[in-house]
Symmetry: C2
Subunit: 576 residues, 2 copies
């Protein structure tokens, strides 16, 4: 039976492009994209992408060339997720909150041939290209020619499709490429599902960005996983609050096509825009980090949180951090249904999802929140997930307390880091991808992350989970956000240092009603002594990445400052 | 980027066994199987399968050996879907309604090493082995030894786990193998996803059975497709009305494991057993051919159809024939929600599913039924589906009327026919699998089957779709079932001949109230003249396959008899 020959009829390569072709045929007249006053159908989107792919080829883009894009969640950004691979090329979406220097580093490392820039980001892109030019030690700006006369990428500006601004940067404009292309272009045929489809740079906080390469197979299977894990049925209306540059929108760029859903694009994720779009288009699904819950709840658009009640439920997939119980209760009370997932760039987005069990509906809200704060079980197409002692590679017992590193394997795991074989083989050694996250397995098989390995605070030999201290801080009625990091300590090696922001929405209370000492005394009453932060700082704002993750690296630098007179020689530098 | 090496961490082979391992970890304590008084959890089922796989290896079952089974939908049948591939072997489930001769042919052709037989089928199995022995020209019955002293398979009887009968056939019994095995057995590692997992003989009505080989990859992707297409969410309770021997239960044997659902096993699919199990276990999903709707509605268990109202909706996936409008309306009125799919053994079960669109809910019931009778759009993991003119290989226009053959390609298509390279290359030629079904594409992209190519009646040069004539017959209030086949005709070449059964549930009406002439006259008023059956036969029962499909081959033989005096030399024999 092994000898039955493979044929074209039974060995189609797995690629998200088949979702798109299928959508263009099965859901031809259904809305694919809605962006303010502009709407497309799946047939139109398909034809636009064929046209764009044609134009990319005409600009000499070839197999495995990198095409970079710096743009918010606009239609062009969505279309490029299909048009670029349809030209045989690899899509590189750049985090729009990176600075010009980071962007230059990515353009340089990826050897991008084309660089699509949304009109809003033209100033930053100009600066990045200037820096890139210095890196490349060349003097010709490629934006004024149609060929690759240098190592600099050709720039294409994306003007707003709904309300054009006329802002240009070089000669080429996105709509013009679509207009000049051929809607009957026959897409580049993917022969090998292991071929690259996307290159995503992780926003490394401590090191140079790493270029994570996704295969067509990995993107395909991960997209299916997320639809299955989130139980996204047919005809979803998906609101793009999560940036598409983040793991290709947790693979939902491709996933919404698989479901023939409608993509509601958003330039800005203000509370006002979110509510307006939900109401206008009957949004059914959206993704965001828990910090966005605050944006939604602390609506600055004149809508009072108490007045909000959604007409029909909107499902939120959240990740990046466990949703704190209080926040979860508030957001669910106004009609959002939250699913918690855990993803990582190297795993092509979500790898674990906290699958809800019906029996939990009978539990008290607080207990439900605790269960939901867990990262959960592996998504369906992941080969395997485990929590292991990395020294012995043995699995930890399912006891809800033994810590180990979360490791993953499966076809959704990246091909590797672009041009970095050393780092690749380190990340993928022993047959597993090592996430760098430390967790436990509960007796029911659900995994909970206790910390990033580098965020664990080791105090007098005790491992303190910064997440655990934070979760207790979150229960304080005045705490809006909390982040705990290691601070050098002359006696214990490290000790916890907490940074918090205060909830200002409580009537009759001012900021001065609560002091740092109050918080420390609250902690003393609510956690083990060795876990109590030695220093608490109330701040106006916590430093965050583009995706809303708190940047603990910056806080660690600050914490080091607070303790500088005391420790000096004691702290192991490697932990910073 | 092509050069990034594959590693164990990112290239796990696709196999349904990962669904099972995952279920044993993520849903360890959830019910996996319920069968009368017997219940297992996923952890228990996993351990039982490890034990059984161990015992299979101990019985010298090796990689790619075929293990056959003749059993109804009992726990053992479900377990073997995992235990057999966990031993590296290939599962061959045999249609229990085949006769001893057919079974002997399958055992001979598949070279089965083991033959599991449910106690109910021991007499038939004995007869089959006798016939096999004659085929093999050997005199040793292998059932009395533990080794392969002949080409005959070793027999293992499966006694009823819930109420053992003590019936034996040879020395070995299923529960004993489970008991003697090792629950910690480490399953055979699937290295290549293209390796075979199952061998399913199509119940060929005109030719010798063909052995359709499924790969692990195909089984995996097809399972995901069906869960997605049917929108089967988490925690389904699946009632096994569809035989598992039919395309491995349309891949749901593996699919229910993927969802961590509960399998409610059934020895007999009587209306009484169906209702009893639905009520006791809160069944959410089941599959069956439309003819089973009649069993459900014409309940012989003392329950009147009018009294039936399900407590909560049960989703039915139906296939094999389009559900007639009247039947659809009746079954949905008592709480079943019907999804229509189209499958074929060679495509590893369902290949098309009639995805329901919300906007259709506003249409009149009759129109909804018409839309639902269509076979629909391709399941998600199928590479592509098309309707083509096989002579030119051109696609037919999406006009709802141009006929062509339905062709499929994708990883869910079989590896090929076992030991039949000629037939394999014929079925998979030109890059497509040719279904032998004739259909159209509507303007919305939905496909509708008009006929099996061999069922099309060619009368005076006109193509008559037998399905179309049947659908009009079904609208007659007294018609319960209808089947139309070609009958030789001296003038027109062929003409339609209808076989019908009558609805006996109508009060105050007897069978004699309606005559064959009445039906012909009804047809004359309701269809084009050339389509009107020249002969109508009212029969007590239509001949059916084990899965409830009407056996048109037998009817064609009968129809030939009716017309025998008239035609003789005219009919092309190839069409019979």
């Amino acid at each position: 039976m092994d000898n039955l020959p493979k044929s074209e009829a039974n060995t189609t390569p797995l690629t998200p492009l088949t979702f798109f072709t299928r959508a263009s045929k099965c859901y031809a007249n259904r809305a694919s994209i809605i962006y303010e006053g502009t709407t497309f159908t799946w047939k139109q989107t398909y034809e636009r992408c064929c046209s764009l792919a044609f134009s990319l080829r005409a600009l000499n883009v070839a197999r495995n060339h990198v095409v970079s894009v710096l743009a918010p969640n606009i239609p062009a950004m969505y279309e490029m997720h299909f048009a670029v691979p349809m030209a045989g090329a690899v899509l590189n979406t750049i985090n729009t909150r990176l600075d010009a220097n980071n962007i230059a580093t990515i353009l340089h490392h990826s050897e991008a041939k084309l660089f699509f820039v949304d009109y809003e980001y033209v100033p930053k892109a100009k600066e990045a290209l200037q820096l890139l030019m210095e890196k490349e030690s060349t003097t010709t700006l490629a934006t004024h020619t149609n060929s690759y006369s240098s190592n600099l990428p050709l720039v294409i500006v994306i003007d707003d499709i709904n309300s054009p601004t006329g802002i240009r940067f070089g000669e080429l404009e996105y709509e013009q490429l679509v207009h000049n292309g051929d809607p009957n272009f026959i897409p580049y045929e993917i022969q090998d599902e292991w071929a690259p489809i996307a290159l995503n740079y992780t926003s490394g906080t401590t090191s140079a960005p790493k270029g994570v390469v996704y295969s067509h197979r990995g993107a395909y299977l991960s997209s299916l996983s997320l639809i299955l894990g989130w139980e996204m049925g047919t005809e979803p209306v998906y609101l793009w609050t999560l940036p598409m540059f983040h793991c290709n929108g947790w693979t939902l760029t491709w996933g919404v096509a698989a479901r023939g859903g409608t993509n509601v694009c958003l330039r800005n994720t203000t509370a006002h825009d979110i509510y307006r779009n939900i109401a206008m288009h009957n949004v059914t699904h959206m993704c965001c980090a828990p910090v966005v819950f605050n944006i939604i709840l602390e609506s600055k658009s004149g809508i009072e949180p108490n007045e909000i009640k959604l007409k029909s439920p909107v499902r939120i997939l959240t990740g990046g951090a466990p949703p704190p119980a209080a926040l979860l209760e508030k957001i669910e009370s106004i009609g959002f249904q939250v699913t918690h997932a855990y993803g990582i760039t190297e795993a092509t987005g979500p790898a674990l999802v906290c699958e809800w069990q019906r029996q939990w509906n009978k539990l008290p809200k607080q207990e439900q929140a605790r269960l939901k704060a867990r990262q959960g079980v592996s998504v369906l197409t992941l080969g395997e997930v485990d929590v292991k002692n990395l020294d012995t590679m043995e699995s930890v017992p399912r006891d809800g307390k033994s810590l180990g590193e979360i490791v993953l394997r499966g076809s959704g795991i990246m091909k590797g880091y672009f041009k970095d074989p050393m780092l690749t083989s380190k990340a993928l050694c022993n047959g597993w991808f090592q996430t760098g996250d430390v967790g436990i397995i509960d007796s029911d098989g659900y995994i909970e992350i206790k910390d990033r390995s580098k965020d664990v605070i080791i105090s007098g030999g005790e491992n303190i989970s910064s997440v655990e201290v934070e979760s207790i801080l979150y229960k304080h009625p005045r705490v809006l956000e909390a982040a705990v990091v290691a601070m050098p300590h002359p006696k214990w090696g490290e000790s916890p240092c907490a940074f918090i922001t205060l909830n200002k929405n409580i009537k009759g209370k001012t900021e001065k009603d609560v002091t740092e000492t109050d918080i420390i005394s609250y902690c003393s009453k609510n956690m083990s002594k060795f876990m109590v932060p030695k220093v608490v700082k109330i701040v106006e704002e916590l430093p965050k990445t583009a995706t809303g993750k708190i940047q603990k690296y910056e806080l660690r630098v600050k914490a080091k400052g607070f303790a500088v007179t005391q420790y000096h020689h004691i702290l192991p530098m490697s932990r910073l």
